[in-house]
Amino acid sequence: MTAQPIAPAPDTDFDDAAFVAAAGGDWSDVADEIVRLKEERVAINMGPQHPSTHGVLRLILELDGETVTETRVGIGYLHSGIEKTMEFRTWTQGTALTTRMDYVASMCNELTYVLAVEKLLGLTDEIPERAVTIRVLIAELTRVASHLIAVGTGGNELGGTTLMTVGFREREEILRFFEMVTGQRMNNAYMRIGGVSQDLPPDALAFLRGAYPRILRGVGDLEDLLMKNPIYRGRLVGNAYLDLTGCIALGITGPMLRATGLPFDVRRAIPYCGYETFEFDVITETTSDAWGRFMVRMREIRESMRIVAQCIERLEGTPGPVMVADGHVAWPSQLSIGPDGQGQSPEHVREVLSGSMESLIHHFKLVTEGFRVPAGQVFVQTEHPKGTQGVHAVSDGGTHPYRLHVREASFNNLQATAALCDGGTVSDVIIGLASIDPVLGGVDR
């Protein structure tokens, strides 16, 4: 995209109106000109580079005085063609691309993707229990991290930098754990088709046990700062209202839907990864506004931490492989940390090289060519921090996806912007947008 502005959709009201094009210059001149023209309506661009729009989102606001009369949303500034790229990479490589969609909740994207491919392969029930539990653990920690970002950055946009620093501080604890387990803080590419890329390192669970109370204390700090805060309440309560009917019509899911009182959570409705065996509550609020969404997120953090605690307990009692036994799919690697960094473990290399030549050829083919996935299509949903995430995977029997579409909750929920913001003030737009919690990497893909 060049700096060339996109013409807004034809608006008959504006066609014959006098207008001032403000592109830089002295704002007082612009203001004087507006006064001279006696025109109160102003159309302004918010974004795509704007600190309050959660990334490169462009809002086109039509203002009448201070009131927003019409909101339009411009997206696509972060479109990177991930879905197209995946058609030219093997099924296994797809994880490294899905992780870059909603980069705030990387591993939740990976989870949906690998579940879809496993369903295509018919492997769903063959994933080792330890791998499934690790997936749940990671997904819930990702949810906590994502909600902390949602609340923290939302608070920052209202001027409360402390909220962001507290949110990021606790998220950092989680990212440290991720780094320990996956080798990376973000964009982890940790989920593998058939399991996870490697087992937890020996001290990881002990680290998490240590971090657990610290994370909860930070969540408590956020609650103390916000739940009784009159300014925060005053800005959020009753703002950005969207009721159940509106949510269902617009396909809104996740915390926004649960803030209307409907206890719809994919983890309970269509359980995957054994969520039916975990104890947790589906959080709802009944206010349907920005405050309700904030409360849902804060309380969901505590529910996710409950699941995390159950995962830790189970993992301590569940040894075992973290990759499916089927040699046609299982990624033939065992990573370890050596003196020169992370790589294949010497034992694994020795085992592969001292085994049969055919085994080595098979490993080589599996990595370079990939495995074939029987033709067909599936649609798999998971409860992503932002809402229902769906992966529609189509295979033509080849080693690459024929078509892979991700139904991103952020993309869909962003449609509600106009419904949330029209009729409010510009400052309410910020809150409405923050209550949707879009991540543009997921919106644009």
Binding site: A249, L250, L262, G370, G398, R403
Partner: protein, 266 residues
Amino acid sequence: MTDSVPTPPVPDGGVAPDGGVAPDGGVAPDGAAAPDGGAVAFEPPLNPPADLMEVRRGLFGATDSGDTSGFGGLVDPVEMPGPSPRPYGDWFDEAVDALVDALPGQGQSIEKVVVDRGELTVYVHRDNLLATLGALRDVQALRFELSLGVNGVHYPGDTGRELHAVYHLMSITNGARVLRVETTAPDGDPHLPSSVAIYPTHDWHERETYDMFGIVFDGHPALARILMPNDWVGHPQRKDYPLGGVNVQFHGASVPPVDERRRYYS
């Protein structure tokens, strides 16, 4: 509805999907069956469209011969799962029956019903798309009130039906049932009716599908591109969309576009 926690009736390992159906041979049972008789179970695939998507030819990948040289001349027909016979299993029969009852012409508009990997797909002709979606949303026994969006798939080998639009619908009322509706349009006439009036959430999804596949949704309130720039030429997710290569400054060499590089398959 607000207070009911959806119960989990996961469609699990339903009917074996493998195309055990003989697509032809039998005389079509014909719609002359008594409309309200109820005795005759509706079998939609009177004349099922071909499920052969393409015939893949390439070097490696032949699985049925001992040839590992890569020059064996792979010829591999790509078949998507074909129409399923009754019973479909799970809640699928009841839902298809309810849909058939709700549609004019006793379901003649349903092209085929596919049950694969525990998922139900109903193929409808584009002329009947809106009636189908309307019935799925409104009929009490169906109540697919939440749409999870629209997206496209381009099958250049599916002659006359190259562009598929796929709708995933969910019924929270009936315990998180998920159903897929698929409809097609030929490349030469890429038009489908817009369903924004039925599911307002399809607004952006149809724009994305238009942007990526060039499917024109007639009746959409503002069918503009959404992800690509407004002045972009072409629809990137189509299989015939040209991809760029990278010029390299050595000896006039260049890195070919990714779809023209040597691949193991196709």
